[in-house]
Subunit: 152 residues, 2 copies
């Protein structure tokens, strides 16, 4: 069973996000070992570059296997081509790490360190909602690959 790590800067505060995350983690447990790795937001610093550098160092320490950065300017996939991409990656890797950056984005070092940059949308979403969108698409990908009816 493949291991998928989702590295996120910042934690979930709202109960509805925590409940929705729990639901997707339950559904995903049938297909993969999914770990959420929450890193600290470095908002004690005033300077955006310093915040991105500090958060970036933490992110890089947590990269393992094939790493995928969620990036507004990344490559766009349909749900079907995203599923195919996940399948291709998992042929050669036993671990995939998805990275969701902090409020100010990620450092250049993180961008360089990641193997693939994917974009879910040209629009910016808050990190709590984006985390759910990512978990949902990973779950959807597994249902596509396994020919299962999507559990609504």
């Amino acid at each position: 069973m493949i291991t998928i790590n989702v590295v996120c800067v910042g934690n979930l505060k709202e109960k509805f996000s925590l409940d929705e995350q729990k639901e997707y983690l339950k559904r995903l447990s049938a297909f993969c070992k999914l770990n959420i790795i929450e890193l600290k937001e470095q908002n004690k610093f005033d300077n955006v570059s310093v915040i991105k550098e500090k958060e970036g160092e933490d992110i890089i320490k947590n990269l393992s296997g094939f790493s995928v950065l969620c990036d507004l300017k990344g490559k766009m996939f349909s749900s079907e081509t995203f599923a195919k991409e996940l399948e291709d990656i998992s042929m050669k890797n036993s671990k995939i790490t998805f990275v969701i950056g902090g409020s100010y984005g990620v450092s250049e070092n993180v961008k360089r360190a990641c193997n693939l940059h994917i974009s879910f949308s040209s629009m910016t979403f808050p990190h709590n909602l984006f985390r759910i969108m990512l978990l949902e698409q990973i779950y959807r990908a597994f249902t596509i690959l396994n020919g299962k009816t999507y559990h609504k």
Copy 2:
């Protein structure tokens, strides 16, 4: 204050979606009169074309003002250009209707009846999550237009 109607086929079943919708409706009440209009899924029919036709008739009855169809193949906007588009539309219209179709999409009649087709993503999302994504982007648009700090 502008009126925004969100016409959706199907209702929210999960408590976390209902709670998140409630949160965005509360925040949006500062900027607009937002109505959620939930239409019945026509899943008593077996034939997809019939479902889309029946749901389409209901949608068309509920279109008013400038109508925006959320469509995988629509025009993509950044959050900033979406905000600008909303501003431009609201200059000439006191009401905007957003349409979220059912599980099988919408009929050709609905496509023709809508003034603008917008795409949030090349990926498919479940209708409950998509409804939250739309409400969040409308809220984000108002914060951008009003120069407010985004309420996280």
